[in-house]
């Protein structure tokens, strides 16, 4: 009997990874830091993080559980804290986690290399294979299971982290990872006023606005959580409008799986024009309003 363990902190990820786990192993055990999805695993261990404790420290609770369960495969949601937990478990098991897997077949995991300059296939050589898996990899799989409850009591590690406060990030607007339309803005936009035409286009199509790294960090024109690319969001909407951005690899890998890609840039030589379905050479200040008008 082969066993797969899933560790997740969001319901959608838990469901998808459990579905994937079901396709890979006979038995599925879910460790959930959220409500467990219905009928997704044979057993579910819901872990409650005590107030003031950090989810990252759950490794102390999970290490004995992992040892006891002895799964051949561990699938983990790729959030910051989940990566931290996975890493601690891997360290204990004497192995390394294979991260941000975009495709998994017969134990061979495909992922980006050098931010998308290359792609690399890797395989674990240890008896416990651990992966963090990108959303969408197991979208076609079907979860199942009785969800038998397992109780795990919190074990605090030595030198535990103390969470002094948690402030939710006000997500103004659309969840870009779920939107059908994303308009991404880059250095071609110099000010907050100039962004209006992008917001208008996105709004007219019921979508959201994302950005490239310079706008989220240096120029500080867009919220950090709307940054699309390596170390940021990966989105795959039906329509992606790349506006006033050059199309650097580090950004484009964040939207490569989009349906239709439309690029707008006044620089004929911008690399983005080699990675789009349609390109419009022109100033975003005039082209985006023209598109919005044509679509209304």
């Amino acid at each position: 009997m082969t066993k797969a363990m899933v560790i997740a902190e969001h319901v959608d990820a838990a469901r998808e990874l459990c579905a994937g786990a079901r396709s890979l192993a006979d038995e599925v055990v879910l460790v959930a830091f959220c409500a467990a999805p219905d009928n997704c695993a044979d057993r579910v261990a819901a872990v409650e993080v005590p107030s003031g404790c950090a989810l990252d420290d759950a490794y102390a609770t999970l290490i004995p559980f992992l040892e006891e369960e002895g799964p051949e495969v561990v699938l983990v949601e790729p959030t910051k804290r989940m990566k931290s937990v996975a890493g601690r478990l891997a360290a204990y098991m004497g192995t390394a986690v294979i991260t941000d897997v975009a495709a998994l077949e017969d134990g061979v995991a495909r992922g980006m290399y050098y931010g998308g300059v290359g792609q690399r296939d890797q395989r674990p050589t240890t008896s416990c294979a651990m992966y963090t898996i990108q959303p969408g990899v197991f979208a076609e799989c079907v979860p199942s299971g009785e969800n038998q409850v397992v109780v795990l009591d919190w074990v605090a590690p030595a030198a535990a982290l103390k969470v002094l406060s948690t402030t939710p990030i006000e997500k103004k607007g659309v969840d870009l990872t779920k939107a059908d339309v994303v308009v991404a803005v880059g250095r071609g936009f110099g000010s907050a006023e100039e962004l209006q035409v992008a917001e208008d286009l996105a709004a007219s199509l019921g979508g959201g606005v994302g950005c490239t790294r310079p706008l989220a960090e240096g120029a500080d024109l867009m919220p950090a959580e709307t940054y699309i690319g390596v170390s940021g969001l990966v989105v795959a909407p039906k329509v992606y409008v790349a506006a006033g951005l050059s199309g650097q690899m580090q950004h484009m890998v964040g939207c490569a799986k989009s349906g239709l890609v439309v690029a707008v840039n006044k620089d004929k030589n911008a690399p983005v024009f080699k990675q789009c379905d349609y390109g419009l050479i022109g100033d975003v200040a005039t082209v985006l309003p023209a598109l919005t008008a044509a679509l209304s």
């Binding site: 250095r187 004929k268 030589n269 690399p271």
Partner: protein
């Protein structure tokens, strides 16, 4: 860049390259704007100061790093790729230190301020009779007691309109003299002259009864005596090569942009870069760039090693002058109409290269000097 830089020189060149691409490139068109150029130059001066590049060849006693001429040239080259005029401006901030140090009071006051990027320096030489035609300049200054009083007109001073401190060349008793005048000194009047290229602050300056204490003056007869520039002065390689390298960087900057353009622009369905006629054209321009690089940095290296070769120095300036315009013509035309439109930022290289072929003496003048260096009978040293 030179193929023979030390690791430290390579590292500072890379830092300046990073700064040039990230900070100069996005704002470069401001230098061509009458309203914006001062702020742009001041901002870039401050950044050069922070990087320690303004004092790159200066003595440590005034806050310099005492690096070699090649290091300054390599750094200027990176700046020139993005903004040829700023590279020329950088040269002026760096290259006048020896002259300023002849006046200890001035050197100790102004060099640290210039090197830190707080202050801007300009040298004003061109006389209505001609920049190097010293014999026909009228005497620009008289001595009264322990003061000198300047009455003269100077043309075409780069950054003259924004400079905090000016170095003024005047003829005095038949030979050259230098005086330092601070901004806002009574009697100094500025007027801007629009030009074809290198458009920031080409300034005409008139001096009317401008008083300068003797300690703020220096004898420049070692540079120009009895109305004629002295051959083979110590400063010759530095001043000429720092002007020549601006054209090297200019050509490389435009070349790189053109190659990128040819990679994405298609003709009859194929990227231009795949056409053999375009490849040959670009390859031939590469030959010219490398030829200039070799002569320029060889001349620099010989100078650094205490064996200055003025023939090679004049060769470098002639090559820089004469290659610039034809190379720019070929590169700009590869863009078609896009290259001719101001907004694309391509044609400005063509205009700037004309300015660089005039600044620090034209080809005719350098050929005259080269003939003199080669000992041809009756040859006159016309350039510095």
């Amino acid at each position: 860049m030179s193929y023979f830089l030390t690791e430290e020189q390579e590292l500072i060149r890379e830092s300046v390259r990073e700064m040039a691409v990230n900070e100069i490139r996005p704002r470069v068109m401001e230098i061509y704007d009458v309203e914006k150029h001062e702020q742009f130059i001041r901002d870039m001066q401050k950044r050069f100061g922070e990087l320690g590049v303004l004092g790159i060849i200066a003595p440590e006693v005034v806050g310099g790093s005492e690096m070699s001429l090649s290091a300054l040239l390599a750094v200027q080259e990176e700046v020139a790729k993005e903004c040829p005029e700023l590279a020329l401006h950088l040269m002026l901030q760096c290259a006048y230190t020896p002259a300023l140090m002849l006046m200890p009071e001035v050197g100790m006051k102004w060099c640290p301020k210039v090197f830190s990027g707080e202050a801007i320096f300009a040298g004003t030489m061109t006389d209505p009779a001609g920049a190097m035609n010293h014999g026909e300049w009228s005497e620009g200054v008289v001595k009264v007691g322990d003061e000198f009083i300047i009455n003269t007109t100077k043309n075409f001073c780069t950054a003259g309109d924004i400079a905090d401190v000016l170095f003024v060349y005047v003829q005095y008793q038949g030979s050259m003299m230098g005086l330092v005048v601070e901004k806002d000194t009574p009697g100094v009047e500025l007027s801007l002259d629009p030009t074809c290229g290198l458009t920031a602050g080409f300034t005409n300056i008139s001096f009317t009864d401008v008083h300068v204490p003797e300690s703020w003056t220096c004898d420049m007869s070692w540079w120009s005596k009895d109305g004629v520039p002295v051959m083979g002065t110590v400063g010759g390689p530095a001043s000429t090569l720092t002007a020549s390298v601006c054209n090297l960087g200019l050509m490389e900057g435009l070349f790189d942009r053109t190659v990128e353009h040819c990679k994405s622009r298609t003709i009859q369905g194929k990227p231009m870069i795949e056409r053999s006629d375009i490849q040959a054209k670009l390859a031939r321009i590469k030959v010219k760039i490398e030829a200039l690089r070799a002569v320029l940095y060889d001349a620099a290296r010989l100078s650094e090693e205490g064996k200055p070769n003025m023939e090679l120095v004049h060769c470098a300036k002639v090559m820089a002058n004469d290659l610039g315009a034809p190379v720019c013509y070929e590169l700009v035309t590869l863009f078609g109409g896009l290259g001719f439109a101001v907004e694309t930022g391509v044609e400005r290289y063509y205009r700037d290269t004309l300015g660089l072929a005039i600044a620090d003496c034209t080809t005719d003048m350098h050929l005259s000097s080269l003939a003199a260096q080669m000992g041809f009978p009756g040859a006159v040293n016309a350039a510095f």
